[in-house]
Symmetry: C2
């Protein structure tokens, strides 16, 4: 039996919702999780508002093996993720001793003031573990199944690299793509029949539109080669048959 | 008093969650809504699963003035948005007479079969209005406050252009950006004080990291010039003062 591990992502930040910043983290997390056999099942983008963050975290952490958040862990007043996650878990948000000492030493060595703003980056829910930040030092953290990371893509990616080896992964979903020169309307009936005949697969149809012409990418996914191969063969034969029809028509 | 109009977006599709397709519609909708004075307050990305789509639609349509969905309205078996939205509203999903006739005539004129798959694109919740699709004909639809549109970006954008003139809009959030050559830790305390002194504004701090150096974009938003201008001035003066400190240090 395949082992299914699911995840949700919570993207925190007004700047994504206003359109000012275009998110680059959703696609990256999706790629990484797919590669290691974890199914990303939902994403929520929420504003910098405590109630919204708390509600989203609590809704998804109960439903999934893992939760990943991005954004809102910097030093400014609009960075309220640590407080919100603490509230979601019902624990105090406080200076983490190790993070505080590390940041204090870091700024001292650079003869920079350890301002209240910078101290904020040492705050996390009581009992949280660090997620190391090799780029700008201030750590992310993990509490329960929730992994809290930075929103700046390069820092998020570096933090995620540190998280990946700690995750229990499931049976990877493998996939094969069949390029189809026809639009969905031409192959939809036959494709639906193939999906029904191969219930252990997930067959997706992704319409493409370019220069006035429709074509389709057909993607077959499954958790074993034994399930995948016959469904891919059926899709390929169906597309070839449509092509033959089109030639003789 | 400013008039606040809020919106949510539901992105429907396994392909976004698997990472195979990188979403381009969230940023576009966010830009358009911001430009016309509607606040996008949440986005949910859900898989091609009826229960998940129904739950997301019902959660957000009760909370916001408008809901916009993308994806899942094509002709294939994995396009289940029309059924799911119908279920969310508790109405039957059936062939829309006008859409059916339009599509039938379209395929007839092109001597193409009006397959069961193509007929699926005429299905919508009873009582829904069309959203015209100038690119590939098959319409989106609106029911209640929910606007259901295609996932292919060019078609989504064209449909949205048809929807925008029908929307009641609020007082636009205006904004000004101050480029700050310092990282958030340097300006965080002072910026927090400015936010507290200007409660009618939303001051966002967006950390940037490039080539080993941190800098920050500070964005002040408000619903009137009278609220915006003094806060922007305060931010500019604060950044100038930090620059003077840095020069004399």
């Amino acid at each position: 039996m395949p082992d299914i591990v699911t995840a949700a992502m919570v993207v925190i930040g007004d700047e994504i919702l206003s359109g000012r910043t275009k998110d680059k983290n959703i696609g990256h997390l999706a790629d990484i999780l797919t590669a290691i056999g974890i199914d990303l099942k939902e994403v929520r983008i929420v504003p910098d508002e405590e109630d919204e963050i708390v509600a989203a975290i609590n809704a998804v952490r109960a439903r999934h093996t893992y939760v990943f958040t991005t954004g809102g862990i910097g030093p400014t007043h609009d960075d309220i993720t640590a407080d919100s996650v603490s509230k979601a878990f019902g624990v105090p948000c406080e200076y983490d001793e190790k993070a505080y000492a590390m940041l204090e030493a870091h700024y001292q060595a650079r003869e920079m003031a350890f301002t209240e703003a910078r101290k904020r980056m040492a705050r996390m829910p009581r009992g949280a573990d660090h997620i190391d930040n090799p780029i700008s030092l201030a750590p992310g953290f993990r509490i329960g199944n929730v992994h809290v990371m930075a929103g700046v893509p390069s820092i998020f990616q570096a933090m995620l690299d540190n998280v990946v080896p700690t995750l229990a992964t499931g049976t990877k979903l493998i996939s094969a793509t069949v390029q189809c020169p026809f639009g969905e309307g031409t192959i939809g009936d036959a494709l639906g029949a193939i999906q029904r005949a191969h219930p252990d697969t997930i067959i997706g149809s992704y319409p493409k539109y370019l220069d006035g012409k429709f074509w389709t990418e057909l993607v077959v996914r499954a958790r074993s080669e034994a399930a995948l191969a016959p469904a891919v063969k059926a899709v390929e034969e169906m597309v070839a048959a449509k092509a033959a029809d089109a030639t003789t028509a």
